[in-house]
Symmetry: C3
Subunit: 132 residues, 3 copies
Amino acid sequence: MPLVRIALRQGKSATYKRQIADGIHQAMAETMGVPPADRFQIITEHGPDDFIYDPDYLNVKRSDDLVFIQISLSAGRTVEQKRALYRKAVEVLGAKPGIRAEDVFINLVEVGKDAETSKSNWSFGNGVAQYL
Amino acid sequence: MPLVRIALRQGKSATYKRQIADGIHQAMAETMGVPPADRFQIITEHGPDDFIYDPDYLNVKRSDDLVFIQISLSAGRTVEQKRALYRKAVEVLGAKPGIRAEDVFINLVEVGKDAETSKSNWSFGNGVAQYL
Amino acid sequence: MPLVRIALRQGKSATYKRQIADGIHQAMAETMGVPPADRFQIITEHGPDDFIYDPDYLNVKRSDDLVFIQISLSAGRTVEQKRALYRKAVEVLGAKPGIRAEDVFINLVEVGKDAETSKSNWSFGNGVAQYL
């Protein structure tokens, strides 16, 4: 059910981008119980003028390899699951494609106020709300 | 009030894209009471490396004609309205530009926890919160 | 903590875009207590076919200089803070780069149902949820 938007600076290879997409999906599957087939991701690349980040906020030293990963998902994950996701994402993306931990920015957007409401906010095709 | 993001694979015509935009807006107007003039939509096209979807999740057979329609809107729609939106969108987009029902992916993002809170989250210009 | 997506029509200069990004960030800092270093922004440009807006909804006369500013942020801001943000954004962007008040569209997306839940929805790097 999550819809994932991955934004990064222009110039990376298709393989590099694929590894990010694979990695974040693996992390979500391992820590939040997202089914392996529940995978929907959009990647966008941006020029230097269009990709603005603070290189130091909260004392995290970011570089142009920064990746914004914004995940629209149903509410209801626990704090422990979210923490586990962040940890795992950094581990997996650090291994492949080799992103520094400081450059993995993740933001979760809960699409409804609670798990029940969120269920009605997804249609995966065929004109139905599959989670209801 | 909704802000609609439509994402699809590169290579469709302007007419094709316009029909998607027209169609989803029509569906929202007919099923959720969105005013005809309350229309704000951003369309993005993506290459094959940047547009990732499972071709089979929940047994829905998706193709490269898949369209992600992500709608930021105020909370408060009923489950019945949401269901009606999904049904109508598939009907309208199936007629024009002729998208298979399986290829219409819709995600609603409620921008506040309830209808009241959501009202304060929109400024349509002039520096005011028009819904308050 | 906010992640800001700025969308506008193609063809503006880098300076023009930078001034929008600077201006909205300044407005957020001055009205919502967003730390100056808490700055993360993605700008996208769109062709005429991909950037659809009503030129008159709610009697606001919009032009092709319209800017969509969609701000993902934690819940918990007051109505007064939100109103102040909209006012200030229009003032700042009116001065530089000189955008008409009618062309500043802002939508806030609260990423969790309340301030507490929202805190767990941000990882600024290093695999941790820095606000917990």
